[in-house]
Amino acid sequence: MSAGSSLPYRLRPNKAVDRELFLSLLMRLAPVLSLEKYHYVGLGGPFLEDFRLVHARLGVGRMTCIETEAEVHKRQLFNRPIASIECVHNTLEEYLDEIDFETPAIVWFDYTEPKGITTQIERFARTIGAVPLGSVLRITLNANPESLGKPLPSDISVEIGDAASGDRAAKPTVQEWRLARFKERVGQLFPSGLSPEGMTHKTYGASVLRVLKLAVEKEALNFRDRQIVWSLATHYKDGQAMVTAALVVCAAADASVGNLLKEWEFLSTPDVPHRLDLPALSTLERLTMESNDDIREKMAFDLPKSDMGEDPITVFKKFYRIYPHFSRVEL
């Protein structure tokens, strides 16, 4: 886990919404699947906030927190909010290789490192066949196109509509350059027909999710006893852009989970992820936006847009219910 990813949730409102969406999914599934009997496996970071919430909302008893770094692991042992949480000093991959799940599991592959996405995706895809039926799997992947590297300005040309730089024929655009690196990075998982347009800040998340979906669907063809029900996909950015996808591994003939999720307001698949691009708001702004229909008239200014390009007011209206409200408490 890199130093940056231990930033507390209050500084990352979009990640907080993303987590609320996942908890909301679990709450919806809980009565049908009896999630309280599940085994929850995740990467807790130094504060194990996800673990505290999963335990509080769902009553999951058996929980395992995996950590590769020795110091963080010791800190987790100190910070763990519930004594029953098992803290393991290992990699998630090795832990999964060594365990035979006795009950269905909830496993959150909370990856942040962009370079290993091919291995991460393959590992996630492979797990759908290794967990008991009913298990819920979730993955977070880095979706920052700049993680593919930065070409020297002299190595690229630009093109907008009909206008292009003189060396356009000889040099790629930055998107074409990224596409070539992306191809190298994902190798055989590269989706046929993916174009340079999928390599912008706005679209890269969708391209990563496409690779993920194809890898999982391909793996699913190998199993006749189970099917994949995609349930939640998000694309968000606080600092680093990330994408997530969650799925339920169901018995092949079982339509109950699919039916249960059909009516869920936040149901989303990797094809159309929720784009969580919420503005940072003052308390007054937030209360105004929640209690008024004519927000644009009431607030005679434009909220800033991020490079994901979503309209902040539309996004707020969709997710205001689970938008976190943090305030300072002095102890």
Binding site: K115, T119, G187, S192, G193, L214, L221
Partner: protein
């Protein structure tokens, strides 16, 4: 001496045996490609020996959980051909279609095999000129004992007509496994990739192939060629062997250094080669094999086995002949006849080309921090034909009436790493990331310098010390 009786032993094949044998040695994606092959052979026949304008032709393929269909405007099936040959299992010796054109079909099983592979009900509707008719293949016919001829029906309603000459094949009552595949997005992607690779030349010439409503884009299989007459260039060989024109090139698909991306990934090195790394084999413009990295194309046969180090090497070989049975392909058209003379003779040259680049990557792997990409800056990726055309202009190419050959190693146009010494050895080791951060912070004032660079600087420090202490 025995004498003949009036009794006879039945020796004709049963349908069940025939269908199961026929469909066993082809996979589902290849069966679809076979149907596409037929469309293209149709376009070739339509041109009647002339050049085909592929941009005038389309093929639309639909994969769904409940049916398969493929539709083209490539001329359709003449009624005489339908009556006598097209639905026969295997090709008759008196069927002399295509003797003068570069088609690839030769055994006459493709369409039937594809249909039987997928499902139990099929309808072939075709229009040749103004003559429209259809041939149903029903599950009742499939289950019946004899080999009754199939009916030929003519349209009675407008909806049974076709707008232009061409063929529509529809298969229903798909087998369970087939339906599961057709509904699966990853399988659709696999088919799309296969089409974009195997039919890349036709797609580049303008053929429109549409899979589930989205056009298929060609994949470019190319090698780097420098503009400069003394710049780095691929190995090239061209010669006519047994009525087959063989063209070979082996070169790099990228000038970028190896292993500078995910170097700190744990475990074994991953193969992150693109589909176009390895060998691509073309027969009369169809790619029979794409990106092969196995013994088939020479890897591990007198040269090293394929390894991710070689992911930047691309080889392309093309066989071209008007005589389809001279081409080294098998009935599935997606595999090679490796015992043919033309293949064996070519393989020698393919390996010769590979050795050049294997030793090139060996030289550079001991210099991971030195960028080789500058040397390739003025080079462009070119197709096989363009590569040969470009290399043929060079002064140091060996040219005679019957062949062209260029060896970049002998022509001394390959870049060598600076400070190359034969005594270079590689130093590799692993340390926990916490320790790496500590050392990186001390040396570079940032805690995330690349592990390779941290290690190298540590070695330099110790080396300087060692040199000082030396008496």
């Amino acid at each position: 001496m025995t004498r003949p009786t009036t009794d006879q032993a039945e020796a004709s094949p049963t349908k069940r045996f025939f269908v199961s044998m026929l469909t066993r040695d082809i996979n589902l994606a290849d069966a679809i490609l076979d149907l596409l092959d037929n469309c293209l052979d149709g376009a070739l026949r339509l041109a009647n020996g002339g050049n085909v304008d592929y941009s005038q032709h389309f093929v639309k393929i639909k994969l769904a959980a409940d049916h398969f269909s493929i539709e083209d405007n490539c001329g359709g099936i003449p009624r005489e051909v339908a009556k006598n040959y097209a639905f026969k299992m295997g090709r008759e010796p008196d069927d002399d279609r295509d003797s003068e054109s570069e088609t690839i079909g030769m055994y006459g099983v493709g369409m039937k095999r594809a249909i039987f592979k997928m499902g139990r009900e099929a309808l072939v509707r075709t229009r040749h000129g103004d003559d429209t008719f259809e041939v149903p293949i029903t599950s009742a016919w499939l289950e019946a004992k004899g080999w009754d001829p199939l009916p030929i029906n003519e349209p009675t309603e407008a909806s049974e007509e076709l707008a232009e000459p061409g063929t529509v094949i529809r298969v229903d009552e798909l087998y369970g496994g087939v339906a599961r595949h057709f509904a699966n997005e990853a399988f659709e992607n696999e088919v799309r990739t296969a089409i974009s690779e195997h039919f890349t030349m036709f797609l580049q010439w303008g053929l429109k192939v549409d899979l589930n409503g989205t056009p298929v884009e060609p994949v470019f299989v190319e090698v780097l060629v420098s503009n400069r007459a003394d710049g780095p260039a691929p190995f090239v060989f061209q010669k006519a062997i047994d009525d087959v024109l063989v063209s070979i090139t082996v070169g790099l698909n990228t000038g970028r250094s190896l292993g500078n991306d995910d170097e700190d990934e744990p475990g074994f090195e991953r193969d992150r080669s693109s589909a176009t790394a390895g060998w691509t084999v073309l027969c009369n413009d169809r790619a029979v094999i794409v990106g092969d990295k196995s013994r088939l194309t020479g890897w591990g046969d007198g040269i090293p086995l394929y390894h991710p180090q070689f992911a930047i090497i691309t080889g392309i070989i093309e066989f071209r002949s008007k005589l389809a049975d001279k081409l080294p392909v098998t009935t599935t058209k997606r595999a090679l006849d490796t015992s043919s003379n033309v293949w064996l003779e070519s393989l020698v040259k393919m390996k010769e080309g590979m050795r050049i680049w294997i030793s090139y990557t060996n030289q550079w792997k001991n210099h991971p921090r030195v960028d080789q990409s500058n040397y390739w800056e003025d080079s462009k990726p070119l197709s096989l034909a363009k590569t040969i055309a470009a290399i043929a202009l060079r002064s140091d190419v060996k040219k005679s009436d019957s062949q062209i050959e260029f060896n970049p190693q002998k022509a001394k146009v390959l870049p060598e790493p600076p400070g190359k010494t034969p005594s270079s050895r590689r130093v590799v080791f692993s340390r926990p990331v916490e320790e790496l951060r500590l050392v990186s912070k001390m040396l570079f004032d940032v805690d995330d310098e690349k592990p390779g660079i941290v290690g190298e600087k540590c070695f330099e420090l110790t080396l300087a010390k060692a040199k000082k202490q030396e008496p």
